[in-house]
Amino acid sequence: MSRGAGVLTFFVLLLAAGCGSEKKAEEGSAEKECDSAPAAMAGQPALPAKFPTPDSVTYTGQKKTGPSSVVSGYRDGELADAFDAYKSAFDSAGYQVTDDEKEEDDAEVNFSGGSSTGQVKMIQSCKDRTSLAITIRPQ
């Protein structure tokens, strides 16, 4: 097939994909009522030096994955607030936000600092709660 036909196909499929993504938004979990919150972990997770914890964050566990670790938790409130809170907190703590992305139901803030790199992954799991998975890699 010619490249011209390829370009035409691209735009047709782009329209189709656009319709598909709308469906995903309708099925988002941000409108669901929340069940009871997971229990907080005993003690505090091992975080890099000066790693920020924004207000309303509860840590529920920490798992070692080889050289790295993953801290799980949640923040009361909506995704957009959690996203802004982490970006601002990293800034205040002297960490660098190397990359960030926010979509309708999930967001990521990638960071560097405290002799580590990693990512805060946020998913709005229900109406007033955003679940957190913080991956920390030693630098």
Partner: protein, 405 residues
């Protein structure tokens, strides 16, 4: 006489419009410097991604600062030689290229030359840790999984399985960069590695090295090597009756591996490799759109083997990276209101686009990496095609990409 006069006037006006239109159109030259002769799969993948982006942008029309532009793509073959990459960079400068897209060959030698004229380099294959440094190398960008990300994700995936790992890296630049990245990733979990072996890439038989790994008590092979070397490693292990699990890097996707194991497809079963995710959180829609456009333009990349009687294709995942990089360059030209190299380079730190898989792509002044470590996933071969694994949190959420036609 009125009719001939009107006809002449019409022709004159038409010519003036045509010539005027042609003269006023600027050219955005993007050079693709890739190993077309030595690694045609990599070279063509990178070039096709750029070509597709250019065709789409040219079709929809691109203007900057009120002036229409046309994107021209120039292919130069670096043959995996840094010296040739330097020659190609000089040629790109002579052609007033607005950017060079490269697999990464010779960037240690070419970035400085390019930076003298503010020419951006965008790496879309190699992940070497030192290649990209926004402070020291302000003109070098990358959209491809980094060695750091691949190595850490492999360590995160393998170490919890309590494997005794034989770390095999070949003696190519690719393998040696991988060795450095693995050493860093396994630094704090070094007990998981029972032996580190260098594979001679020119050797026809790697039985001695595989035997050394076996005698070390290894229960898994982690191979960071060129595709042909990876194939020879698998052959050496399986032909000796050793069914050790094998883990690898994105070179496992290269058709060469499957072609060299075509006589023993079952030897490839279970091989697990790390690579950049093809689809984003948005779902598979954008990826499918990109893949369909790619195949319409260039045809599917047939691997040369079959799976359950159907022809196996290689998904254009690395073409996605060069496609995204070309779109970012076009966005930077638009932001810079023209093809002035210095302004385009500055704009590359500010623009972002929606990538082929729907993810946002962009750089900033402190980060010139377009693929984050957490976007590395794992796939496992079965019947000559691969699928995301189920025992990794990210991979288990990813859709299976159709690889047969």
């Amino acid at each position: 006489m009125r009719t001939p006069a009107a006809a002449v006037a019409l022709v004159v006006v038409a010519l003036a419009v045509a010539c005027g239109g042609s003269k006023s159109k600027g050219t955005i030259t993007i050079v693709v410097d890739a190993p077309f002769s030595r690694s045609p799969y990599i070279g063509d993948t990178i070039a096709n991604g750029v070509r597709l982006a250019a065709d789409q942008l040219n079709a929809q029309g691109i203007s900057a600062g009120g002036k229409p532009y046309r994107i021209r793509v120039v292919r130069l073959d670096n043959g995996l030689s840094p010296a040739r990459a330097v020659t190609d960079t000089r040629q790109a400068l002579r052609r007033h290229a607005v950017a060079i897209l490269t697999d990464g060959t010779g960037v240690d030698a070419t970035w400085r030359l390019a930076n003298q004229k503010h020419l951006p380099l965008c790496i879309t294959y190699q992940g070497g840790t030192g290649l990209v440094d926004p402070k020291a190398r302000p003109n070098v960008f990358r959209i491809a999984p980094t060695d750091h990300g691949l190595a850490f994700r492999l360590a995160e995936y393998m170490v919890p399985k309590s494997l005794k790992i034989a770390q095999l890296t070949d003696d190519s630049d690719y393998g040696q960069a991988g060795r450095a990245a693995l050493d860093d990733a396994f630094r704090t979990v070094s007990k998981s590695v029972v032996v580190r072996i260098t594979l001679p890439s020119s050797a026809s038989d790697l039985a001695p090295q595989v035997l050394q790994a076996r005698r070390s008590g290894a229960t898994a092979l982690l191979v960071w090597a060129l595709p042909a070397v990876l194939a020879k490693t698998v052959v050496a292990a399986r032909s000796a009756g050793w069914h050790v699990p094998v883990y690898a890097t994105p070179t496992a996707e290269d058709p060469v591996l499957r072609q060299q194991l075509a006589d023993h497809p079952s030897w490839l079963d279970g091989l697990t490799f790390a690579s950049g995710r093809m689809t984003a959180e948005l779902g598979s829609g954008p990826w499918s759109t990109f893949e369909a456009a790619y195949e319409s333009a260039f045809g599917a990349t047939y691997v040369g083997v079959k799976s359950r009687g159907r022809r196996v294709i290689s998904p254009p995942d690395y073409a996605m990276y060069s496609y995204d990089c070309a779109n970012l360059i076009a966005a930077a030209v638009q932001q810079a209101k023209g093809a002035d190299a210095k302004k385009v380079l500055a704009a590359l730190n500010q623009v972002s686009t929606h990538g082929a898989n729907g993810d946002e792509r962009g750089f900033n002044e402190i980060n010139h990496e377009g693929v984050v470590d957490d976007d590395v996933y794992f796939a496992r071969f079965g019947n000559m095609i691969f699928q995301p694994v189920k025992d990794d949190p990210l991979s288990s959420t990813l859709p299976v990409i159709n690889q047969v036609r």
